[in-house]
Symmetry: C2
Subunit: 488 residues, 2 copies
């Protein structure tokens, strides 16, 4: 297995995961690699969990990642009681339940800000970085794995670095990474990315040899999630998005070829890409967080000419095909640190078309994407704010109803606000899309109700708006606050 | 007066304000110069109002500006009924009352986005630009006045340009402007500003001669507002801000010299600058929107080495001194388009210390800066979102109470959200400051109540939080939504 460590002197640092786990001291803050279950540290977190379970110590760890990670971190460290604090984004139900039960302290940070905050000390000291890599080359360069996320920042800022050399990841990944970091104020410079495919950094993580506390071999693979078949609602949302994008190009408000696309993971994102495959658009670019199956499908179809992300997740069904064809994708993909994939400067410059998902929205165009009923956290905002605040076109989408049609996802007043009316250009449901740009609150309300709300809920929403307009002394944003949360 | 127009061929376009006003057709969208009562168009808007009053026509105009403007626009065009729509920011009570009465349609846009939206056609066609200048030089260059705001963008995008040559502004202003615009996607390039004082554009507005429909002489001066003496509460807020900034530098989280400062207009901003004058900080920079008296005072004191803004407002009391000393300020100040003064790219790169004012905040750190009781709009968000979302240090401040101490400005749930918990680092009142970075919602709530809330309201807020924590099934962001708007 040693052929993954090609620089002799690094071999002296090799130890078992259990030995490495012993280096972790109580109350430590640990920055881990991993972004949307890809490239996350696995062997050492599992070993930390084993240690905590075996000894019963209160480790009281603060765990930072890129974004969501696998059960090896969020599941194991929650169950073992080793983790006390968590940031910036999670999707694992074990940790989510612990957060909502008040057992784990969670805080939500824009993904682009993680690097800035870390470098400026806003998180306090970062004691350890635990980072998955695919190998170390002759020069001692650390080769990133299937995600970068905030790993480069954690390596830069941590006192001690623990590396997991994952031998299940193919060495052929070498070369798809572009590691670039923005220097701290007052030394920050413009990020020289002008096109989605601009290469501006190194294809390895710079790291001071003396900071490396342990190197561990790991043979635990990423577990890609299966892609769900696109349901009817997602398909309609995707169709509406493609229609509105097409209309924007026809009106000259969007250039052709389109600016790069950003979207979350999941059904609608896949359906949008599938729709674009059938469309007349060509020379598509992606500048997003996660590259998933559909992106590679469109590369093969000649539709996507370049895709930049910070993580690469392949579903089990697609894996064989993906591996067989990797060499044909290699020069059309790039993984960057999340500081760069989500950077306002680059997002605004490229004029990204951003597509993000809401839990609920209100009739005035504010968006809740993190808290069910205002109190139960789902995942956090992730990068949605980075993109929504800076996109050339900021689209939010949601099914018009939740809980089998019993709840409207469009309400008079949302229970938690993550994105304000100022950062949303289009709202899309399966019923249609509302162009919210340059509209007054009341104009927005009528558009949203008439085109996006489920027809069953339109009378109720119109009734609210009409009564608010009639009864409220102030007519700019009429509200009947006394009734918006009745029964909640 | 012709010596202000030094290029012969422009003289053929000179006409009276009343003649120019006749060019305006009904339903037109007009982009006007002006930012925080400075450099706004005056003679032509007054003439438009006279025309509307004389003829009784329904002009139905959409009026866009940089930010707030003088009564010559917002007052006169409201009273005359000529204006139907207004964006992006206003502070004039006549227009505010008309908006809240439902007579004028207003919509709120981040100030940095005005240029982007205009260039991409999000506002629809812009029919006219009406822009105050101080003169036209031998080459036909248009020399900006006391503000730039969005005037350069309106000149670029409008079908017809009307210029007001204001002869009350001294020609010595020439040279303090730096007009730079970001090209539309896909041609946007990095903005080459690395330091607050970098000059990157021209000192005049580029403008196609054939687009100029009229040139009008104006002798209506800017009316600077008097600076109110700093009251005790503002002084304490300012003291707290200076204390927290000092502590941040001591902890190594802020560099010295400090990153450039941004602040709104008014008492606290002045008190902060007065406090900095007495502090040990030197080589201070400003990268903000409005340069007001206190900035010049600190330039004279050798404390501020450079100040960049988009407008320059001098109070009547300070005017004589300012004029007598202008030559000593000239190389230490610069006015930029608001697209640049408020650009996320530059704000993040420079690591700006942003100080903005809230109407109310909630215990979890969300901020309302636009709507009283969720329905009555005050001014709009202005540039507060541009700065808060991207600042190196994002500070919001508010007195702890309003309405003579009868209302707490810190509440369980705010009635309108303009800035979310993700974009606020410090909350400051006269009682203290709360560091909200890297904290969970409950931690934030306790800090805010214990350090920022007025002591009279702390028991009520603690009681809410305690009951929410006890009764709410989900412990991450506990709320008792059923009671938050009771009686509203
Ligand atoms: C918003 C988000 C949670 C939606 O994810 P999703 O998988 O499409 O969500 P679902 O439709 O399955 O809904 C999730 C839960 O919320 C519930 N829900 C959705 N809308 C609801 C509403 N209006 N009221 C009450 N509950 C609602 C669902 O019933 C489901 O509940 P369950 O867990 O009890 O089954 C997710 O996209 C997210 O976390 N976004 C924020 C971060 C982000 O945008 N990342 C991508 C770019 S960076
Ligand atoms: C927030 C903002 C309105 C505060 O301005 P200000 O002049 O300091 O405000 P005041 O303290 O005078 O309060 C304004 C009004 O709100 C009322 N008010 C303030 N807090 C209140 C509260 N918590 N509840 C109810 N009313 C409140 C005041 O009583 C006053 O009412 P009045 O008009 O009936 O007298 C102003 O800073 C703003 O518009 N900010 C947004 C834009 C911005 O930040 N611009 C600068 C940087 S770009």
């Amino acid at each position: 297995m040693n052929d993954r460590i090609k620089c002799e002197k690094y071999l002296s640092k090799v130890m078992s995961a259990d030995e490495a786990a012993k280096l972790i001291y109580p109350n430590a803050t640990i920055g881990m690699s991993g972004f949307t279950p890809a490239g996350h540290a696995k062997a050492v977190p599992l070993a930390i969990a084993r240690r905590a379970e075996a000894t019963g110590e209160k480790l009281n760890l603060t765990v930072m990642t890129g974004a969501s990670v696998g059960d090896e971190i969020d599941g194991a460290l929650t169950r073992s009681g080793a983790m006390k604090r968590r940031t910036p984004y999670q999707t694992n139900s074990t940790v989510r339940n612990a957060i909502n039960a008040g057992e784990i302290d969670y805080f939500d940070v824009h993904l682009s800000q993680v690097a800035v905050w870390a470098k400026n000390g806003f998180f306090g000291d970062i004691d350890f970085a635990i980072v998955e890599i695919i190998g170390i080359d002759e020069e001692g360069h650390l080769i990133p794995s299937t995600s970068i996320g905030a790993a480069n920042t954690y390596i830069e800022c941590a006192k001690h670095v623990i590396l997991e050399v994952n031998t299940t990841q193919p060495e052929s990944l070498r070369g798809i990474h572009d590691v670039y970091t923005v220097e701290r104020v007052p030394n920050s410079k413009p990020i020289p990315i002008i096109h989605a495919d601009d290469r501006v950094g190194t294809d390895y993580y710079p790291c001071d040899f003396d900071k490396i506390a342990a190197i561990v071999y790991s043979d635990i693979p990423d577990k890609g999630r299966s892609v769900q078949p696109v349901d009817e609602i997602s398909q309609k949302i995707a169709d509406n998005i493609i229609e509105l994008i097409t209309k924007e190009t026809e009106a000259g408000r969007l250039p052709v070829p389109l600016p790069p696309l950003q979207s979350g993971v999941g059904g609608v994102a896949n359906a949008v890409l599938a729709g674009l495959k059938k469309s007349n658009f060509t020379d598509l670019k992606v500048y997003s967080e996660v590259l998933q199956d559909a992106v590679f499908d469109l590369i093969e179809a000649g539709k996507i000419s370049f895709a930049s992300g910070t993580s690469l997740t392949i579903s089990p069904d697609f894996e064989e095909h993906y591996k067989a064809n990797f060499e044909s994708y290699r020069d059309k993909i790039m993984l960057r640190p999340q500081e760069i994939s989500n950077h306002p400067e680059v997002i605004r410059r490229l004029g990204i078309i951003a597509m993000n998902t809401a839990i609920e929205t209100d009739i005035y165009g504010n968006v809740n994407s993190s808290h069910i009923n205002g109190t139960r956290i789902m995942n956090g905002i992730g990068g949605s704010g980075d993109f929504a605040q800076n996109a050339g076109l900021s689209i939010f989408m949601t099914p018009s109803t939740a809980k089998n049609g019993t709840l409207s996802c469009i309400v008079p007043f949302i229970t938690h606000v993550d994105h304000t009316e100022h950062d949303i250009h289009f709202l899309v449901t399966e019923y249609g899309y509302a162009d919210l740009r340059a509209t007054t609150p009341k104009e927005r309300a009528r558009k949203i109700i008439d085109t996006c709300a489920h027809p069953d809920f339109r009378p109720m929403l119109h009734d609210y708006l009409d009564r608010a307009c009639a009864q409220c002394a102030h007519k700019h944003t009429p509200q009947l606050l006394g009734e918006v949360f009745q029964g909640k």
